[in-house]
Amino acid sequence: MDFQQIIAAALSRGGHYADIYIEHTVLQNVELQDGRVSQAQQSVLHGAGIRVVCGEQTGYAYTMDLSQPSLMHAARFAASIGDGNFCAPHCTVCADEILPRPDTSEPQQLEGCEAAALLLKIQERACATDPRIVRVKASLSQRTQQIQFLNSLGEEYTDLRPRTSLFVSIVMEQGEQTQMGFASRMMQHGAEMLTDELVDEVTHEAISRTAFLFDATRIDGGEMPVVMAAGASGILLHEAIGHAFEADFIRQGTSIFSDRLGTEICDPSITIVDDGTQEGDAGRLRWDDEGTAGQRTVLVEKGRLVSFMHDRISAKHFGVAPTGNGRRQSFRHTPQPRMRSTYMLAGETPPDDIIRSVRRGILAQTFTNGQVQIGAGDFTFYMKQGYLIEDGRLTQPLRDLNIIGNGPQALRDICLVGNDLKLDHSASMCGKGGQTVPVSQGLPTVLIKKLVVG
């Protein structure tokens, strides 16, 4: 394969940068339902995307056929984004320099019968735990993504990204009531992550979340203080500010934080990072999907907004280095600035003291989904499980509440930060611009003075 010729074709009509992203991904999924492991899926995704950047313009084409003529055809189409002012390509890639082996070992995978045995074990243990359980559904998903990347700057890498996800959902009946709850884990590991301890943890989490719902109620909505429990509450950062810190929105001026760089946006006790270096984390990137090395990016330092999350295009626009946030769902998609693992560093307050400080409010513990409106900054997340706080004590179990706030205001309203930072490794996928990528988040217990709950 003559990649030099392909890059040259990509840049032949004035583009200043080009890259080739070749992917081979295999996903295997085995599912238990109604007491049997009788369903399996496997998918193979194979192809290459060729991108040409000219200023802030992008030309993109992809193909499943990795032959030279097919890649050349894609390159010529992508090249058409150029303005016709031909720039001599700065291309140092040579065919014999590419394809260094990834310095990662092959991920461990469970064979079909081993995966089936694991799922049956989950069902057996679950059913032995609580007689109210009438249905157990469990699935194990094992994905291996192999990537080869090279660009017109002479940068290149190959990577092997394993991803293993375990889902357990439980249906319980008690009298006339039926409740369903679930738990999951997703890590950038092979099957070695599926220890007995982890499998039991996920199973019992699903059971306890389901059982919790029988006694939980909803409350009359309105504005009230909200304590976000450590861990999964990192969804607050993801929705309230994370997306608004993605620098394509900053470049376009649409984010509510567009003109806030360098200013104080919250209490000095708060530091927030987006991190691509956490080993095993779903958002970990050795390189991002446009060749920038994985890194940890401090977004808010002691209350001051110090960086946005950049891909190559936004970084060039602002004259800064890319932060390794250029991510894409697959070779069918162009990179865009995306979060990786977003979390707030621990503060100093014990979590119990935070709960004791609330006269009437809620403690939010687990969530199902969230979203944000970038321009207005209005975000929501759906709380599945939590508690009413009355006079500093947890009283009534609560469920199914949608929590709404405004990003900058909610950040300003964080008045206590716990000393118990916890990263959440539930399966969490983030959607943006028609693309979905795995992310994670974390938070210490925090108190927000007021959000709309309903």
Partner: protein
């Protein structure tokens, strides 16, 4: 010529499946052509073209069922893929309910011409599509001084699929769409940047509107300036047509065979009972020519037909495929919806607003969820206070809460404004007595 090649790949893959000892199988070869163009500030910001082809296999071996997908169609790769697919299916536990559909139910031709495929779409030069998108993006209305950003997105998709099922079905289907959307962001109050948009979708490129989208997008954005929550309380709620279908989704999910079998449906045991008000009259009509979603057969090859889902509020049917028909001992119906039509009323949205006089018009939903077993829901909303039949202050940051079964009993009005080019023709709807949580 290309079609012949695709059919050859399909038959080759099926033969490989047979050779591996699997004799019950479905193979689908899908081929798309997709163009995407984004224009901002009158300049093309992104241009993307692709023509992906992929193969899906659904294998059955003595009650074992596997689903397999690949876009690596090189012959050696296909051999490996099929060999592994058959081996994976063999290791599963048998479940006698898992079989191909009854061949008696397959589509055997003779349906109306669907007129939902623009065969020229992939041949239209990108320059023409760029001109269309750029024309909308440079519309005079987008010179408004409050605008921070105005983006126009054009995308199209030409889809063809060839089907081969081992127990006697061979067919093909085709569809296309082109869509144009303009999204406008303006300078608001207190540092906010309100954003909204408007879009139009057609089956044929030549039917795409050449003007009008940008101005609607701008007006929809400008009217959002100053959004804030209003007082909590019980209001009459109107829901604008483009998002009214969101409230139907929990009902449709609860009609699904899997939800019923897994005991996760608040509509379990409610067939032939009054679920909504008499205004909830909903049909699915896959055989209406010239509409999006039109198709002669489901993904399992079974013939589609016009079905009444809710007859003046009474639930008439569930979505029961072959697997869940066996598990639930029910007659199979269909896998899901194709082209939904909620019976329109005779009033425009404005007339409905005047009829309501006071309340809240919901123009978009912002997050939230619905519990599948109880139907309890909580959704974030934005929109406008309605005062004396007119739009007053814009609202956001509020939730609506309630139960789906109660909500649809409170449906008291339907407008006549559903977009005929959508796959779901749901007009603006009016519900009384809805709880809003805000200030």
């Amino acid at each position: 010529m290309k079609e012949t090649t695709n059919r050859q790949i399909l038959h080759t893959a099926m033969q490989m499946v047979y050779d591996e000892g699997c004799h019950e199988a479905k193979a689908v070869l899908m081929q798309n052509h997709e163009d995407t163009i984004q224009v901002r500030g009158g300049r093309v910001e992104k241009l993307q073209r692709a023509a992906p082809t992929s193969l899906a296999l659904n294998l059955f071996i003595d009650g074992r069922e596997g689903f397999f997908y690949t876009n690596d169609l090189a012959i050696d790769s296909l051999h490996r893929f099929v060999r592994q697919a058959v081996a994976t299916t063999r290791m599963l536990e048998p479940d006698a309910d898992r079989t191909l559909a009854d061949p008696q139910r397959y589509y055997r031709g003779g349906g109306p011409e669907l007129k939902n495929y623009d065969a020229t779409l992939s041949d239209i030069e990108p320059e023409r599509k760029i001109r269309l998108a750029t024309g909308h993006n440079t519309d005079a209305s987008l010179s408004h001084p409050a605008i921070i950003s105005a983006e126009t997105h054009y995308s199209d998709r030409q889809h063809r699929a060839e089907y081969l099922i081992s127990n006697g079905f061979e067919g093909s289907e085709a569809s296309s769409y082109c869509t144009l959307t303009t999204i406008v962001t303006v300078e608001g109050r207190d540092g906010q940047h309100p954003m909204d948009g408007w879009g139009e979708t057609r089956i044929f490129f030549d039917d795409m509107p050449t003007t009008g989208i940008a101005d609607v997008a701008l007006q929809r954005t400008l009217r959002k300036i100053g959004q804030r929550p209003t007082k909590s309380g019980t209001y009459t709620m109107l829901v604008e047509s483009p998002v009214a279908g969101n409230l139907l989704q929990p009902l449709l999910s609860a009609m699904n065979g899997q939800a019923l079998q897994q005991r996760m449906s608040f509509l379990e045991g409610r067939q032939h009972t009054q679920v909504g008000s008499t205004l909830l009259h909903l049909i699915d009509d896959p055989l209406q020519p010239g509409t999006r979603g039109a198709c002669h057969f489901d993904y399992d090859g079974t013939a589609t037909s016009r079905r009444t889902l809710f007859d003046e509020g009474r639930l008439q049917t569930y979505f029961i495929d072959t697997l869940y028909a066996r598990k639930l001992h029910m007659t199979p119906t269909t896998q899901g919806t194709h082209h939904l039509i909620l019976r329109p009323g005779d009033k425009s949205l404005n007339e409905l607003m005047q009829a309501a006089s006071n309340g809240i018009l919901v123009t978009d939903f912002n997050g939230g969820n619905c519990d599948p077993s109880t139907g309890n829901f909580s959704y974030g909303i934005e929109g406008f206070v309605l005062r004396d039949g007119k739009l007053a202050e814009p609202v956001s940051g509020m939730n609506i809460t309630g139960n789906m079964l109660e909500l649809w009993q409170r449906l008291v009005g339907a407008a006549n404004d559903a977009d005929p080019w959508e796959t779901e023709l749901i007009p603006s709807l009016m519900f009384e007595g809805v709880h809003f949580a805000g200030n």
